[in-house]
């Protein structure tokens, strides 16, 4: 159990290192670089 957790953590830290090196920012990846809809309406109060 402990070994699997250690492997999991190692993967996470490696991911962090790789992401930082290449300039990936996790949250921006989540929202994605979607093609913006220029005609989108924006309503406000």
């Amino acid at each position: 159990m402990l070994r699997i957790f250690a492997i999991y953590c190692t993967v996470l830290v490696i991911l962090l290192a790789v992401a930082n090196r290449n300039g990936y920012v996790f949250t921006s990846m989540l929202t994605g670089s979607q093609k913006a809809d220029k005609a989108a309406n924006h309503y406000h109060k």
């Binding site: 996470l12 090196r21 300039g23 990936y24 921006s28 670089s33 406000h44």
Partner: protein, 421 residues
């Protein structure tokens, strides 16, 4: 004497059936398996203590079966059904002529292997905590134990209805039990056994199901729990090191900044920055700010690589409203925002800007600042969270387990006391 030790047999004074004693010289009372009369075998005159004419009850472990536990072979020679009120449990007397006696106790499907302790523990039965062999035992219950049924042989004068005061202390998986009457006090040490262990040792096909959590049942991840947090801590330290190194190595450089002015005629026009160079693949941070006054601004930005024409599109929205009401001045929103674009390869770029604003499009100034290789704490905190998820879940499970354990006790320590007052 030099003769070989062997079991002793005699005729039951009540019914004539053959009675066999295994623990010769030690056994004090024997119950005839044919008529269930209790016979005194202490002093060779085999007197009937209690005459009976009942059939022997069937039990999960029958008299005479042997099993190996903790490296020693044990034979079941006696059985007692004990109770506290209407709550019953089984106690099997195990015998090995070299190692002595042990008890195998079954209680709501939970099994314990118990040995009488020859140690003086002065405050047992009174204190809430007792220390034995360097371990702290917590008081779990106080009650009584009354003998309800017996079969086999025993090394004390056992009889139905005999009663002792009892107290249990726990340090899972160990259990410290005390039984006390007017003459003596007996302290025993028990270890929790997994039902599968008992089933395989005594070759039992069926076992009673476990209900609830036993007082000394070991919690899940027992032992590994601390190590889990240590491992988590070590890797959080690694992650922190990685993040620190990233921050140190970051360029944190400005690429391009400018001010823009937009009025109603520019609504559908796409602005563009001049060309700028990004020397190294990394992130890009675009910061925008505006002098909004009860208005909103939306920027549709597109970072375009001039060589490959690849586009990175983001939308930034800002709004700021303020006013006065009976409670005083209020304000809502922010006049600035910033957005990351991940992993932008090196090359020449320009930023295309489409601005959109509120109904009063009376001309808005906004400023843009494009930076690259700006360290973000986000990656780091997400990593830390992901590391903590598993030990966090384990801790939750442990806590829920301990709550179940102590819900059966009248001496619950404060932290597990969930009862609403």
């Amino acid at each position: 004497m030099g003769s070989k030790g062997k079991p002793q047999t005699f005729a039951c004074p009540a019914c004539g059936g053959t009675v066999t004693i295994k623990a010769v010289g030690i056994t004090t009372s024997a119950i005839c398996m044919y008529c269930s009369s209790v016979i005194d075998v202490a002093n060779e005159n085999y007197q009937i203590i209690k005459k009976a004419n009942e059939k022997m009850r069937k039990t999960l472990l029958e008299l005479g079966v042997r099993g190996r536990l903790f490296g020693v072979d044990w034979e079941v020679i006696g059985y007692t059904d004990k109770k506290d009120g209407s709550y019953h449990w089984d106690e099997y007397l195990l015998y090995n002529p070299y190692y002595g006696f042990r008890f195998l106790v079954q209680n709501q499907g939970h099994w314990n292997f118990i040995k009488v302790l020859k140690k003086d523990i002065p405050d047992i039965g009174d204190a809430n905590e007792v220390w034995v062999n360097g371990k702290k035992y917590q008081l779990f219950l106080k009650g009584e134990a009354v003998v309800d049924y017996v079969k086999g042989e025993f090394h004390w004068r056992v009889k139905k209805g005999e009663r002792v005061d009892a107290a249990d202390y726990v340090a899972p998986p160990s259990l410290l039990s005390m039984e006390k009457n007017a003459e003596e006090i007996i302290v025993s040490l028990g270890e929790y056994l997994k039902p599968q262990e008992v089933a395989s040792t005594f070759k039992l096909k069926e076992m009673p199901d476990r209900t609830g959590v036993a007082s000394n049942q070991p919690a899940p991840y027992q032992g590994a729990f601390l190590k889990l947090w240590i491992v988590a801590g070590v890797f959080i330290a690694f992650a922190t090191m990685v993040q620190n190194m990233t921050v140190k190595a970051s360029d944190n450089a400005d690429v391009y900044s400018s001010q823009f002015q937009v009025d109603s005629t520019d609504r559908d026009k796409t602005l563009s920055t001049p060309s700028f160079f990004i020397p190294k693949k990394n992130n890009v941070l675009i910061q925008s700010g505006s002098n909004l006054d009860n208005d909103w601004l939306e920027l549709h930005l597109s970072l375009v690589n001039e060589e490959t024409n690849k586009e990175y599109a983001i939308v930034q929205a800002m709004e700021y409203y303020h006013g006065q009401d009976i409670d005083g001045p209020w304000a809502e929103g922010k006049q600035y925002t910033e957005t990351y674009i991940s992993s932008v390869p090196s090359g020449n770029y320009r930023l295309l800007i489409d601005a959109d604003s509120g109904t009063s499009f009376r001309g808005i100034n906004f400023a843009l600042r494009i930076m690259r290789d700006v360290p973000s704490g986000l990656n780091y905190w997400i990593t830390v969270l992901m590391i903590l998820v598993y030990p966090g879940l384990v801790m939750l499970r442990r806590w829920s387990f301990e709550n179940k354990r102590w819900s059966e006790s009248d001496y619950t320590p404060a932290i597990y006391n969930l009862r609403n007052e």
